[in-house]
């Protein structure tokens, strides 16, 4: 089987669109954090939010009328990926297309609002309009309806590695020759409740910047948005290999599995698009890179875009694909201790392969390798 990226879509705190976001990353821009608060507490956190005008061109659809932000992000990224793919591989028969949706926290805004009403006023105040939007597969359902997909649609839940697991699932689905392509979408929406939860879990810092590979780790900043890749048998960037990885029981054991993944995927010609986000996973990735690919160029998009959890691995794939196609990588922002000698400089060219390392904060790790 030949698995390629035929189209991509990107909705981020730096805007919407592959070229828009990529140009800003190359320029060294980073998203501006916004304060995020909630009536349930007087604590305020910072998060990178998708600017409202990023979705201004999203076509209205009945399914999106009451949908949560996550569904709108997913719809915009998915539609953009299909538009991009049409210029690469021509018309797409949606009856021969599957959808795999990757998510971690899901529709947390409506879920919180729904449950808040129950806690505050009792079960009789539960909203039948909000409840369906709390279900993990609501965004995928909306997207399938917008695109007219009537076949396979899966929602996968996991941590930051779920995007790679979704691509793995897509590759398995495309073994079926009845399918021409599979749209993989990762999406997340930011909310105060998530910030508070990750803070209590000692993973979040109060303000930017995210400082990847800093010792000791100082924490991450959450973000939101969506990434979409249309996988097909034709396209410009090839997926060489996917390692669905495995799980680690405790944080300090993440290095073992990340190192094994990198060992399996390592290629001297490859740069590494890391998931380093200012938490314990940076140490695991640093050890793996120092041991398995010490001369590889390393880049993490998270200082610029934030930690988007369910969307993050798909964002890394998009960064890698763009790097291979443009032969450039953005400059790593706010890097602390170096991983080997090779954070990218502005003029550094990229070879023909890129490895995506994806280590989540909740026990999952996976990776894949692209080539051009």
């Amino acid at each position: 089987m030949n698995l390629r990226i035929a189209g991509m879509g990107w909705v981020t705190p730096l805007g919407r669109g592959i070229d828009v976001v990529w140009d800003r990353l190359i320029r060294g821009d980073e998203a501006l954090a916004q304060p995020i608060s909630d009536s349930v507490s007087d604590k305020t956190y910072s998060a990178f939010r998708v600017p409202p005008d990023a979705l201004k061109n999203l076509l209205p659809h009945p399914r999106l009328r009451r949908a949560s932000a996550i569904s709108r992000f997913a719809a915009a990224a998915g539609l953009d990926a299909l538009d991009g793919a049409r210029s690469t591989i021509g018309e797409i028969d949606v009856q021969r297309m599957a959808l795999v949706f990757a998510v971690s926290n899901g529709g947390v805004i409506y879920t919180k609002r729904f449950y808040h009403n129950v806690v505050e006023s009792g079960a009789q105040s539960a909203s039948p309009l909000l409840f369906p939007e709390t279900v993990f597969n609501a965004p995928a359902s909306h997207l399938a309806a917008i695109l007219g997909i009537e076949g396979a649609s899966y929602t996968l839940v996991g941590d930051g590695a779920v995007g790679v697991l979704a691509i793995k699932m897509a590759s398995d689905l495309l073994d079926n020759e009845a399918l021409d392509c599979c749209l993989v979408v990762g999406a997340e929406e930011a909310d105060w409740l998530l910030c508070d939860a990750y803070r209590k879990w000692r993973l979040l810092k109060s303000e930017p910047p995210i400082e990847p590979f800093h010792e000791p780790p100082r924490g991450m900043i959450l973000s939101e948005g969506a990434g979409a890749v249309l996988l097909a048998r034709r396209g410009t960037v090839q997926i060489d290999a996917i390692d669905a990885g495995g799980n680690f029981s405790q944080r300090h054991k993440a290095n073992e599995i990340v190192r094994r993944i990198l060992h399996d995927l390592a290629d001297e010609d490859a740069c590494v698009i890391a998931s380093a986000n200012g938490t314990f996973i940076d140490l695991a990735e640093r050890e793996a890179i120092e041991n398995e690919l010490p001369r590889g160029i390393v880049y993490s998009p998270k200082p610029a875009l934030g930690e988007s959890v369910g969307a993050s691995a798909v964002w890394q794939v998009i960064v890698a694909a763009q790097a291979l196609q443009t032969k450039r990588l953005p400059q790593m922002l706010h890097s602390g201790r170096q991983v080997g000698p090779n954070f990218p400089k502005n003029d550094r060219t990229v070879g023909k392969k890129a490895i995506i390392l994806s280590c989540g904060v909740n026990q999952q790790a996976a990776g894949l390798r692209l080539s051009i």
């Binding site: 349930v40 998510v103 009792g122 076949g151 073994d175 996917i242």
Partner: protein, 411 residues
């Protein structure tokens, strides 16, 4: 185990199609713990729905559910560490234990599990503590055990398994989707062994949500009955060990049955309501038959999704009537309630038990046939019958529909 790197160029042009055995299984549902208790309760047509005491249901229309006894769960797993875990993790650990007792040598390369709500009740505890500004000292534990992959990873870890986990959240079809995808992974020849199943533990948010939709009934759950008035919720977990049949036979593994077909379709009609035409469920069932190379006439029993809501049963019943001629049909949700992400997995194990015992499980609380549905309901009493092939349906919010076909393996 969990380390396979698939390099696509190596697989180009190869498309194997192998037979897929179920070599072991584990189940916890309101019917009981394990396959033997499950079968005994099926024979006894046991109504396992009881009043909900876990949270306040005073303001809900429905006040009952099919529930797992905490006492029995705690009897099996006790200790400082397990006491910190979510009930869903305990359920998953218990069913994986049962599976591995039957086949201790089973080592999956991939795990595909369905759920809808993970450790939701811990999320509720956390939010209530935030709201009260009190009791937040447990919040780190609640948050760490809330994500849906956590019960799967922890259960695997308890038995030294570290296979990568794909956790499918396709609403009420999650369990059947998980089994179906796992089946396709093995059938493709890429994997020898894939662990699959589903779990869900009852939670206030989900219970109140279905109540707010008026999908839950204050009365008995009566699938396909003329006077059906809605569903009751349930909970539980089930896992199935899938393996390439040749590999299973080569190591003399016990074989419970064979998965032979899978169908998946998506309705774009509405987020929560099925297309009344039954088109989506029909496509899923047709695909499952096509994928197995079987005809509708070869199916001996259908374990229906059968939630007992007006719309689901009408759409599913119509699709079954159009495709099948008087095949015996029952919804075992009448006995145990609807366990959401676990339902498809529990019902697959019920189908395996039915094949083993040559028993048609009953659709209890059935009083009056629906004149709009020409179905052969296994009403109120289980009965013996010759059954070789069974179909199990699961349909869910978001318009997701899934069907699998399971076959008794000839000796």
């Amino acid at each position: 185990m969990g380390t396979e790197v698939v390099r696509f160029n190596d697989l180009r042009g190869k498309r194997a199609s192998v037979r897929v055995a179920v070599v072991s299984a584990g189940v916890i549902s309101p019917l009981g713990f394990g396959l033997d208790e499950t079968l005994a309760s099926l024979r006894g047509n046991k109504d396992c729905v009881s009043p909900v005491t876990r949270f306040d249901v005073e303001k809900c229309r429905c006040k009952a559910a099919g529930q797992i006894s905490d006492e029995r769960l705690n009897d099996r797993q006790n200790g400082a560490k397990t006491n910190r875990l979510h009930r869903a993790t305990r359920m998953m650990t218990a069913v994986l234990d049962e599976l591995l007792v039957t086949d201790p040598k089973y080592k999956p390369e991939l795990t595909v599990i369905g759920t809808t709500s993970g450790g939701m009740s811990f999320g509720e505890d956390y939010y209530r503590a935030l709201y009260r500004h009190a009791g937040l000292r447990h919040s780190a534990r609640w948050i760490a055990n809330y994500p849906p992959q956590k019960p799967v990873i922890d259960a695997q870890y308890a038995f030294g398994i570290s296979a990568p986990c794909q956790v499918i959240a396709n609403a009420c079809a999650s369990g059947t989707n998980a089994i179906g995808h796992a089946f396709e992974c093995v059938r493709s020849g890429k994997y020898q062994r894939v662990l699959t199943g589903g779990y869900d533990a009852i939670s206030e948010l989900v219970f109140v949500g279905f109540d707010s939709l008026q999908a839950a009934t204050p009365e008995k759950c009566r699938p396909f009955d003329r006077d059906r008035s809605g569903m009751v919720l349930g909970e539980g977990a089930a896992v199935l060990a899938l393996e390439n049949l040749e590999s299973a036979r080569a190591r003399n593994a016990p074989i419970l049955g064979e998965i032979i077909g899978y169908g998946i379709s998506t309705d774009n009609h509405h987020l929560t309501q099925p297309d009344p035409s039954g088109r989506g469920p029909r496509r899923a069932m047709e695909q499952a038959l096509q994928s197995a190379g079987r005809s509708a006439g070869e199916v001996d029993y259908i374990n229906a999704h059968g939630t007992a809501t007006t719309f689901n049963d009408a759409a599913e019943g119509r699709a079954i009537t159009e495709l099948f001629a008087k095949v015996p049909v029952s919804s075992t949700k009448s006995m145990i309630g609807h366990s959401l992400g676990a339902a498809g997995a529990i019902e697959a194990v019920i189908c395996l038990a039915a094949l083993k015992a040559q028993l048609l499980p009953s659709n209890i609380n059935f009083r009056n046939p629906d004149p709009d549905l020409d179905l052969n309901i296994v009403a109120n009493e289980s009965r013996e019958a010759k059954i070789d092939i069974v179909l199990s349906n699961s349909f869910g919010f978001g318009g997701t529909n899934a069907s699998i076909l399971i076959q008794k393996l000839a000796a």
